[in-house]
Symmetry: C2
Subunit: 255 residues, 2 copies
């Protein structure tokens, strides 16, 4: 059997250590092609670039891996790869990450990592976004690599035809401390923003976005926030149908 | 009873005609505060600004309406409004739009308009994003204003306590041609990208994102794409829980 073709993107950019860790794992399993942003794109959500042209440049950063950097967002990277690189090649799996920082709860909305994976899923590809709960650029990806290899192999080995979009978060603890993998749901949570105000030399205020994340379901044990706080790798099956189906029969008062 | 406090943002920016149309309607119903981007932010999805500071400047563009422009994305606008303007004031309704261009199907993911509404919903506010299926900056918002007033009044009059995040799309036809309002679900659809390649004066290629949108459920009559193609205003109850709940019991092969 020929090796699976694995496409990889991320949002921390082509030079991120987390991307290198994911490439290292994936190339032991399949043929890998990378298209990643040329600069960090954290917090870019599902943005696409429509007002500026994009560049795609071949780079030589990973041994024996076809790699490109793109001037756009993570979603742009996947769209360019699809249209320019994969017109005649069938991708078996789309991966994104490993993100430096968790993408649990509603952070899936702000996450460029998950948007790249979501673009893969929209194209009908099995897609997985990986994030490590450690923002440091020097984070230790040893435990992540172990679990990521396991998850990729199980997804590729499964002959299930169902669409798959997985949001995987890994706790920032040693491999031997991780208790296993938990399938769970996105926790309800939100940011309490506290814009930090400064005054520029002309006396005009400016603000930095900052804040504290709050888990609104502290007692629930079936959520991604619970899982990574309790030593599990969280796997949330995710979706790009944002319809609240349970409310469809409940809105006749608007008609 | 005191007038409801209505907060409005958009993604086409503070000078967009669609924003003015929405403010015109909302100020007949309540007290209105606007925070909108200082420049167009189409396609910015749920991006937030974390690497640059933000500015918030009071402007005088709408008669008798407190208005601010913000240097950030639509999501930034809502976050700044919450933290800086509404610390001591309770917002009754969050509106976004009227977007110049439809946000049906998966375009909710790329839409700054819907991201602003979604930020309102995350804060527990009843929130509605409005889009007109006409990209022209000179679009005619007459029919939109009629239906938007109807929808806002019904949402405010309803004493239901359920969370509400509505994605409303209006067809680009005359008021008397519109058949009514349809509650529907997000259609499955996707973009077929065709990057348009050009060569710069130095001989290096660059690409413009372009494409065609494809409805993958042409026969379904309960979708937003069907509704606006058939003369209805579409209302999709939407969600920021992206968990695919139906798949939670189906992934044990990964553990």
């Amino acid at each position: 059997m020929s090796k699976p073709l694995i496409f990889i993107s991320n949002d921390d950019g082509i030079t991120a250590k987390g991307l290198r860790a994911l490439v290292d794992v994936a190339k032991t399993i399949g043929e890998v092609v990378v298209v990643a942003p040329d600069k960090p794109q954290s917090g870019k959500g599902h943005a696409v670039t429509i007002k500026y042209p994009l560049r795609l440049t071949k780079v030589d950063v990973f041994e024996n891996v076809e790699s490109w950097m793109c001037t756009g967002t993570p979603a742009d990277c996947v769209k360019m790869a699809k249209d320019i690189l994969f017109k005649d090649r069938n991708v078996d799996l789309v991966l994104s990450g490993i993100n430096h920082g968790a993408n649990t709860s509603i952070n899936i909305l702000y996450s460029g990592t998950m948007s790249a994976a979501m673009e893969g899923a929209i194209e009908g590809k099995k897609s997985i976004g990986f994030s490590l709960d450690d923002f440091s650029s020097e984070a230790d990806f040893t435990a992540s690599k172990h679990y990521i290899e396991k998850i990729i192999r199980r997804v590729l080995d499964s002959d299930r035809d169902q669409p798959l979009l997985l949001n995987v978060n890994i706790p920032s603890i040693q491999l031997e401390e991780i208790k296993g993998i938990k399938i769970c749901r996105q926790s309800r949570g939100k940011w309490t923003e506290e814009f930090s105000k400064s005054i520029d030399p002309r006396g005009v205020p400016y603000y930095w976005l900052t804040g504290r994340f709050e888990n609104l379901e502290k007692d629930a044990t079936d959520t991604d926030l619970w899982a990574i706080a309790n030593g599990y790798v969280s796997v949330v099956p995710s979706n790009f149908d944002l319809t609240k189906h349970s409310q469809l029969d409940d809105l006749d008062f608007i008609i």
